[in-house]
């Protein structure tokens, strides 16, 4: 029930329009009920009158027929053609009203559905963007996407189609029943005798059908998986001349899919046959009863003719109702899954929006931290100080805590204890957006968007001029490979474009970061895939761009670390050595060991080449 409430909650401020649409739709179905009435009047009031001279009268309960009669002039033998013409016009007016209300109802419901679904999508998108990073490790991204697309669609179908259709079907049923009931109670009840049976069969069938369809989808998915695997491995298949083997594998699954497909067909075949039998049986029953009542003079000939139409109207919708009701359950599940996203707490960007420019004085004071869902500390009592404008290198094996320091600096996570001070103020005082805006982070495996290289570079400054783009592209050595691409900066990358190499991606990502003109730059193994010469060029360029700004470097090659003002060596969440290159060499610790190893290798190389 709560879910139903939530489902309609999606409509928000368009709720009233939606209700209006529902009312109009019900109205439209009721107007439709007038159409057979008019035929009835034409028969009873005019044709039978002309033949037998008995004026047609509406039964006392049938106020609708009475109303129609009251619109017509007194029917006399000499004005029959005129009356018929008026009846024709009346019929047209009713039909037009029916059409108009129905159209309006559908259009209004579509407008309010689409508007509210758009709003739901926007809310989801914005909400997801504002979720803390930790959330994304909890829910796989594929699952999130599925909820934002498939589940939203299910909700959309529920509001936009299923509920509307249900209103229409039910109002047709109720309308037709009432019309008959007003004229003849017993007949009306006979006319719906089999209806509950039709409703229940349809409901049960569509429940069952849903299950078979699920199985069908599973077989289809397996088939898709086989094709997909074959296509991505087609070169191996051909290299090993295993085409026939693959075809056999495919044919087997294709047969299984065929089998379940046929099973699905047979299920439908049996259901429709049975339910059509019930429907036809119901109409035949009505016909029989109608004949009796007419001959007993309980109803008029015209009423009998109109009853025939009503009894069809009353039976047909029931199968549809069964179908819709059986499918509606899906919407509640989908809504539940959507709500889970929307209920997840957003990242709190708290903090004052004070500083627009950072100096880059950083201090870690005895910081402890562990990732959510993890038992071990990623940082254990880390303390260090960085002066504004200094270049700091972080060294250490994977998992030693280097990237965690960076993540804490951007406030993607908060330390468990200890404090981080930036420019003399606790980091907590900074608004997250301001903070991150001033931090430039380049990762080892950067994410690029599937758009042009230009748009990727200008991601933080969408209106960047060509000169600005060229400038950062130059510094990041993007320009050197751009020239080889057919469309230059307008080349699409990703799925529908060019696949860039790891080094090329890193360079584009660096350019993107530089575009933001960061006060603090973090290079997290950011040029590892770039060849040596290009890396050197990048370093030189960065030297100019980042002059006087705090820079963090995480790298493996000592050559790129040596010039740092401070080198921090980490192991298992702790700082084990700290100091300049020269100071660390004197300490004869970890750093010295690594350094010596590198020097010895250089000597090795020389030797090998000479041999």
């Amino acid at each position: 029930m709560e879910n139903i409430y939530k489902l309609f909650g999606v409509l928000e401020k368009w709720k009233n329009f939606y209700i209006l649409a529902g009312v109009l739709l019900a109205l439209s179905s009721l107007i439709r009920m007038l159409e057979p009435k008019i035929l009835q009047i034409a028969i009873d009031g005019v044709v039978v009158f002309a033949r037998e001279g008995t004026p047609g009268v509406a039964s006392e309960n049938d106020f609708i027929a009475q109303t129609f009669y009251s619109f017509l002039p007194e029917i006399r033998m000499d004005n029959l053609i005129r009356v018929l013409f008026l009846i024709g016009i009346m019929f047209l007016i009713v039909a037009a009203m029916q059409a108009l209300t129905r159209f309006m109802a559908s259009a209004i419901s579509a407008a309010s559905t689409e508007k509210s679904i758009k709003q739901l999508r926007d809310r989801l998108f914005a909400h997801i963007q504002a979720l803390p990073l930790a959330h994304f490790s909890k829910v796989p991204s594929g699952e999130l996407i599925q909820r934002c697309t498939g589940d939203v669609d299910t909700v959309r179908r529920f509001i936009g189609t299923q509920v509307i259709e249900l209103i229409r079907l039910l109002s047709v049923f109720v309308g037709a029943f009432v019309m008959m009931f007003m004229v003849h109670k017993v007949y009306a009840i006979i006319a719906i005798a089999l209806v509950p049976l039709i409703l229940i069969t349809a409901y049960l069938f569509f429940k069952r059908e849903g299950k078979v369809w699920q199985e069908h989808e599973e077989e289809q998915d397996k088939l898709t998986a086989i094709i997909q695997e074959n296509l991505s491995g087609i070169r191996v298949v051909q290299a090993f001349a295993k085409e026939d083997f693959e075809i056999d594998k495919f044919v087997k699954q294709n047969k299984r899919k065929l089998k379940i497909g046929l099973q699905h067909v047979y299920l439908h075949m049996n259901f429709w046959t049975f339910s059509d039998f019930l429907v036809n049986g119901q109409v035949a029953l009505s016909l029989l009863a109608g004949g009796y009542f007419t001959l007993n003079n309980a109803i008029s000939v015209g009423e009998f003719a109109s009853f025939f139409t009503y009894s069809i109207m009353v039976t047909w919708p029931m199968r549809g109702v069964g179908r819709i009701v059986s499918q509606m359950g899906m919407a509640a599940v989908a809504m539940e899954r959507i709500s889970q996203i929307l209920d997840a707490e957003q990242e709190d960007y708290e903090g004052n929006r004070v500083k627009l420019k950072l100096d880059g004085d950083i201090e870690f004071k005895n910081v402890y931290f562990k990732y959510p869902k993890s038992d071990t500390y990623a940082l254990k009592g880390v303390s260090f100080e960085v002066n504004a404008g200094h270049k700091v290198a972080l060294l250490g094996p994977a998992g030693s805590g280097k990237s965690t320091i960076i993540a804490l600096l951007g406030r993607y996570y908060e330390p468990e204890s200890g404090e981080i001070i930036l420019d003399g103020q606790p980091l907590k005082n900074y608004h997250k957006s301001d903070l991150r805006r001033r931090f430039g982070v380049v990762h080892q495996k950067p994410f690029l968007f599937s758009t042009t290289i230009r748009e990727n570079i200008a991601y933080m400054k969408i209106d960047a001029s060509d000169e600005e783009i060229c400038e950062v592209a130059n510094a990041a050595s993007v320009d050197s490979f751009i020239e080889k691409l057919n469309n230059g900066y307008e080349t699409m990358v990703g799925e529908k474009g060019v696949t860039l190499s790891g080094g090329q991606k890193q360079r584009v990502a660096l350019a993107r970061t530089l575009m933001g003109d960061p006060d603090i730059l973090v290079l997290d193994d950011a040029t590892s895939a770039v060849d040596t010469e290009t890396e050197f060029a990048i370093q030189k360029a960065l030297h100019t761009v980042m002059h006087g700004k705090t820079t963090f470097i995480i790298a493996h090659r000592l050559t790129s670390i040596q010039e740092a003002d401070e080198i921090i060596v980490m192991e298992q969440g702790k700082i084990i050595e700290k100091g300049t290159h020269d100071a660390l060499l004197k300490q004869k610790g970890f750093y010295k060991k690594v350094y010596d190893l590198q020097v010895s290798i250089e000597a090795d190389i020389e030797k090998e080449i000479l041999n």
């Binding site: 407008a111 689409e114 296509l231 070169r235 295993k242 067909v265 035949a284 970061t513 040596t532």
Partner: protein
Amino acid sequence: MAQFEDRSFDKKGALWPFLKRIFRYSFRYKKWMIWFCIWVCIVAIADAAFPLVLLGMLDNVVTPQLEALKAAMDAGIPFEMDFSGVWLYAGLFLLIGIIQIIGIYFFIKLTGKVQEYVMYDLREEMFRKLQKLSFSFYDRSASGWLLTRLTSDTDRVCEVISWGLLDAFWGITMIFFCLGSMFIFNWKLGLVVLIAIPVMLVASVKIRMLVLKYSREARKLNSELTASFNEHINGVEVNKSTTQEYRVSLLFRGLSGRMRLSSYRAAFYTAMYVPVVLLIGSVAAAAVIFWGGSMAIAVSTGITIGVLAASFEYAMKIFFPIVDISMFYALAQGSLSAGERIFSLLDEDIDVKNKEEATHIGAIEGQIEFQNVDFHYVEGHPVLKDFNLNIKKGQSIALVGATGEGKSTIINLVCRFYEPTGGLVLIDGKDYMDHTLQSLRSQLGIVLQTPHLFSGTIKENIVYGRSDATEKEVEAALRLVSGEDFLARLDEEVGEGGDQLSMGEKQLISFARAILADPKIFIMDEATSSIDTLTEAKIQEGIGKMLEGRTSIIIAHRLSTIKNCDRILVISKGAILEDGSHKTLMKQKGKYYQLYTRQLRKERLADLVG
């Protein structure tokens, strides 16, 4: 460069050829189709006959009985009402209903069967074709696009020939019989309905096409919407670190706004559809009331009440077949592009295929010769020109040089993934074009750059090239590639595409797979570039043994792999720049010397980071 853009198929006048071609598939099941048509006719006749029962009951039972009653009452004699007629007609109705139900039973069965079988056939035909298409085709097609042809495109097209056809055929027969019975009873009223039909049909198709247009647009936007969610959920970290969360959310609003508009438009025209078509039908029904009523009261032409009521029923009923026919038209139009995508795949030329008189190449020894070979991927951009190379049986060859200079092309030509555009490639002195592809390839051992495994166990993957291999042979192959670790894990599932394993493990298995068949020619295309150093070191151990007694062609970055080859060829701009052993080339101090020293430094540094 890969061409991912799909051709556009929505040209005018394509509908008929498309339908003709697709119906050829359903007429493979001629017997079912004929019975299908018969049953659909029967159902349509039954549908058209229902109002006649009403007519009969009104005219033959109710009216005469009531008149008789009135006459009797006027005359003051008691009248015994005869209800047998009522039973007769209600029974008749039920009888027709039962016939109709039998028809429905069979036509659903037959339609469903034809649909499923044609789907089955189409998919299989496409899959077979895909196995035959050459590398050149796969170079320019994204596999995702190909996949949809076998799945959703096939589903769409088959709907046209099954339920679509059903709608159309039922619609046409239904109109035919409704009009027929109207004309029999009163041709004037029949004419009224007849005139309404084309009007309804035109309006119906016009609106349907508008719906189609906007729902197509909405579908396209919907996939953009999904792509956008995909991008910004996977790239959320970038958005946060560049503080673009708000901006991208705004951008998304623009997209979802366009989506809203086109979905709304599609819904708007859908909303318009039924009312408009029904309204036109109502005009006809009103005309029937007026003229029919006039005729009923005029003594001379006097039509019966039954005819009037039935005509009214028909006028209202004619709406359904119109809806169905236009549904078929829209369905066919909507799946036109899916159909053309399918047929363009089936019609695709196969570049590399067996000649008609091709024979088995026989057991090969391993000598390879390129004689004046020309080759280009794209006309006008030659990759190899008058290329000559002779590789002796058992010799190991390393190809070095920058990307795009023609190394992989040489390998592709040896494997006959591509064929030379000029000149000859000889295996053991025989032109390989005279022999079958499969006989050559099954005797090659090939390891490609990115290892690809198939879902199944590790063992199943190793024996992929030779399913009759014994346990011992599998073990020997694994030992040869230093993959002993896998001996205990042979029955482990590798997951889809080998997802459960690391890149290195996958490549090790693909080495074992290639070596298992004891190929005379062994080919490695950058096979070690995508794996971690640890695995590489392992493979390295075995590589010497692997190459023993085989002709091998290797493209590699790793120096130790190259160094130990009998011959090293430096390839530049499709020609052999340097040719000799490691020692000779190092002495020459040419291109190889440069490449080697640079690579050595890089490798050593990388080792350190390890």
